[in-house]
Symmetry: C2
Subunit: 538 residues, 2 copies
């Protein structure tokens, strides 16, 4: 493929655009602007067969312990009504589905009562501000979905998201809230997440300073967790704890009780539609032959990009302002799932795995990093996302879409130095000047990109889109034989963070650092101690 | 270096931490956790000499035409009072400095009058909302600086930033504003930026719908531009146009009139301190020997990472919530400046240039993409940023800093499989289980990272930090002999966008597409036309 250009591929096949596209569940996926052919796909499908992708998909849906290092199933599909043989069965998946239904009912009921003002604050007022305290999977998913659909917001109810332990994050949010009409959702699967509990304590103090104390505090906190005991011990009232099962991974959890802020902010109907859209994609993924299976095609193409084309990053570029949070969401979903070097059996991989995921809402990036995409030295995986029906004013929507299509064309077609030269002459440049500038104005082209069109910016379509990415991630993990559902790498930083906190807090003396830590860490600690302790030069 | 670990380097030199650090202008830069030695640095300094870095720095400060493809100087340093021999000279830099002074005076005066309510709206009220309409360089810099210092906000004045042409962006902002107390800043060097002018037109309509028409509209718009005529033609009043000189590049322009929203939002004193901090870094960069020159060290290290270590991306991780916009800002600064394949003389480069820049505020990323940084297959350039004095509550600050230091330690030290095995046994795992899990819980380590400590989160320190990055970019561009100050690559997408808009808007018929465009673009246009035209299946 190194000697074949995308232009060549299109010239050779007048139907390439439609042939290398597939659609399902309100999603149109065009992967034709990529260096792949029928032969490439054929190889990739063979690779999928060799990796036993088909049985692996069934295993996930059946609730087998695909998360082998934690001895768990990964049954986020059960949250959407999929998995197993439906209700009534005795399989792991069916049981999970029943649990999920129970939890969902509670979430929906509670959200409705909050939204309608039936559940009131400690001063018998309807709540006006909901503050979700959570980080990672307890933050990014709900944050994305809530920010995508302001048209569903309740007129007198605002939903906020606070993740960082940096007190400025919560402070900025609390400026917009009044204590006696604010409800805090403390969202942590383990109910031991440092950042979240710190913010919960801070919220508690804020309420108490406003005179909301004792039993009254109960009315201002909700807990979402897999560890009911820990939540109880912290002080969440029994009737305010919503359960997350251990077969739901944090980054796959917006469909679970973790989605409570979605149900409150948007209403339960949009939340159900979100689940419904995801369920449709689940079924598509489970039953569609690979040749027309969107997540399979996407996942295998990622393998092609990463292991055969050496594309080190993936730019996610939604041409939809309200999907501005999507790159951050996918960053977690993909990088935390696929940033692994160890196979499921514990061997070291000898190939590349997950890419760096990054991006921003289009058209903004065109005035920033697109320069590098177009004229930089390396190719990347690039994902353009746009909507078919106008999600905003019609004229503005046409601009967004024309730019979206134009960027993918510019990446593919480029501009030859000869053409740049001609254009410069036509603009009145002297031959010398045109000669001098033509190279700078030329664009190499032959750079791939995908385009994903959503039928509408609706909860249903977004649900399908997010499930599409989840399943693409699973496909990649199966091909690489890694576990997409654990994240052991982050534990070490937590341990070391605790150690260093004791030093910075002066609970321990620096002798520990001198014995155990490198001179860089010691110097940095020295800098920080100086600042905490005494006056510095101005 | 492939066989030397970071741990080896630290073991070999007990003072490595302080030796491979440098500080200036309120910034402490630790680059010791990297695979480099005195010899590496020596080679890099020789490379800098061979590339004539020293004279290149002087050329920039002297106002020579370092932006050769546009025939311009790059005199952002003049905006900070640097460049040339100071005021009174006749050099390009001195003249630029004088111009900059004049513009700055006007900006400061206007900002003060807005802030103090002396300049009033069309209904003689003080302004309550300032909406900056700009994209790329007219957005990211002011957005970053304003969001970093809420402590300087005026109590009754809110500043908003709207970049995207997607009408939802402006709509969301206008919900928070009242027409007769809202001032729009239309910020566009060319005053022809599609997104910005679209939003300006939308703002105009919004005001007119509220009865603010004719001459009254003048009181609600400010223009910041290098093209006064275009601004006048659009309808900005003469006394409301602030000039940006052509020797200021968009991504280097927050120090210019483009910084007006900063001066309004924070007050003119913090804006001056920002400039002052940058000026200090300018002098440091200009006069300090390379061995202790922060931007030179940083830029040369980037060359080491990109051209010799093959690190394809740089994660920017500020452990400061209020610097959450920094990654997006640096994304433009670095990727738009360094995403080039053509030398200044027009030859194709045969080495890698700019990296992908991405990141987010810490600690959030620890619950998301750090998994890949720690256990993924590729090394990246990683930049931790923290503050010495507490910018937030003391306890929260200590947590941020302990995590920041812990992440860089975890990346470097890792955890061996043997240690993971021992820990598992100690936690009660059976030898079999410990054996099965140890590989998953081990962390490879030997991964580099930088740590930057800011003395304080103040405008002065932030000014120094941003100038530090600007100059690092220039250093890299000089070594590669590319022009850091142009961005020709983005033009092609604009041209193609205009063409496609005519098709989507049906101003032109699809026959144009059939003659000129690939079948992917045609299929996508077909999808979009279907949606615009008729009913779709639900």
């Amino acid at each position: 493929m190194d000697t074949t250009t995308l232009i060549d591929l299109f010239a050779a096949n007048p139907d390439r655009g439609s042939q290398y596209s597939a659609s399902a569940c309100g999603l149109y996926f065009d992967y034709s602007k990529d260096h792949l052919t029928e032969q490439t796909l054929d190889y990739l499908f063979k690779l999928a067969d060799a990796a036993q992708l088909k049985p692996a998909i069934q295993k996930m849906f059946n609730g087998e312990l695909v998360n082998n290092t934690e001895g768990r199933a990964a049954l986020h599909v059960a949250l959407r009504g999929g998995g197993g043989g439906g209700g009534g069965g005795v399989s792991a998946a069916s049981k999970a589905g029943q649990k999920a239904n129970q939890h969902l009912k509670k979430v929906v009921q509670f959200a409705t009562q909050i939204r309608q003002g039936q559940i009131k604050s400690s001063t018998a007022k309807p709540f006006r501000n909901i503050v979700n305290l959570g980080i990672g999977g307890s933050d990014l998913g709900p944050r994305l979905v809530v920010s995508a659909f302001p048209e569903h917001y309740h007129t007198t109810l605002q939903t906020h998201f606070v993740a960082n332990i940096d007190s400025d994050a919560l402070t900025a949010t609390l400026k917009q809230c009044t204590p006696d009409t604010t409800l805090f959702i403390v969202s942590s699967k383990s109910f031991s997440t440092l950042e979240t509990l710190n913010n919960a304590d801070r919220a508690n103090t804020w309420l108490r300073q406003a005179g909301i104390e004792g039993q009254l505090l109960d009315r201002h906190f909700v807990g979402i967790t897999g560890h009911r005991d820990a939540a109880t011990q912290w002080g969440i009232a029994q009737d305010r704890i919503f359960t997350v099962e251990d077969w739901v991974g944090g980054r796959f959890s917006l469909w679970s009780s973790i989605g409570l802020p979605i149900a409150i902010a948007l209403g339960t109907e949009p939340f159900q539609q979100l689940l419904e859209g995801a369920r449709e994609m689940d079924e598509h993924f489970r039953y569609t032959p690979f040749e027309a299976n969107l997540p399979v095609l996407h996942g295998l193409q990622a393998i092609w990009h990463i292991n055969f084309r050496n594309y080190k990053s993936r730019a996610v570029l939604p041409y939809v302002h309200r999907l501005g949070q999507l790159p951050a969401y996918l960053q977690q979903l993909m990088m935390e799932s696929l940033g692994k070097t160890t196979t499921k059996e514990g061997a070291a991989v000898d190939f590349s795995t997950g890419q760096i995921i990054w991006g921003s809402e289009g058209t903004n990036g065109q005035h920033s990093f697109h320069q590098l995409l177009l004229q930089g030295t390396d190719r990347q995986s690039i994902e353009f996302i746009a909507t078919r029906s106008a999600h905003c004013e019609a004229g503005s929507h046409r601009h967004l879409n024309s730019h979206c299509l134009a960027q993918s064309r510019a990446l593919m077609e480029g501009k030859s130095q000869a053409l740049a030269y001609e254009e410069l002459l036509a603009e009145g440049a002297s031959p010398d000047e045109a000669d001098r500038l033509a190279a700078h104005k030329s664009v190499p082209g032959n750079r791939p990109s995908n385009t994903l069109l959503l039928d509408d910016l609706t909860p249903r379509c977004l649900g399908a889109l997010l499930a599409f990415y989840e399943h693409s991630v699973y496909v990649q993990s199966v091909i690489w034989n890694i576990n997409a559902f654990d994240q052991w790498g982050v534990e070490l930083g937590k341990e070391m963070g605790n150690e260093l906190f004791l030093l910075l807090n002066k609970t321990e003396t620096m002798s520990v650092a001198h014995e155990q830590m490198d001179s860089s860490t010691r110097s940095l600690l020295g800098c920080l101690h100086n600042s905490i302790d005494g006056p510095r030069e101005s």
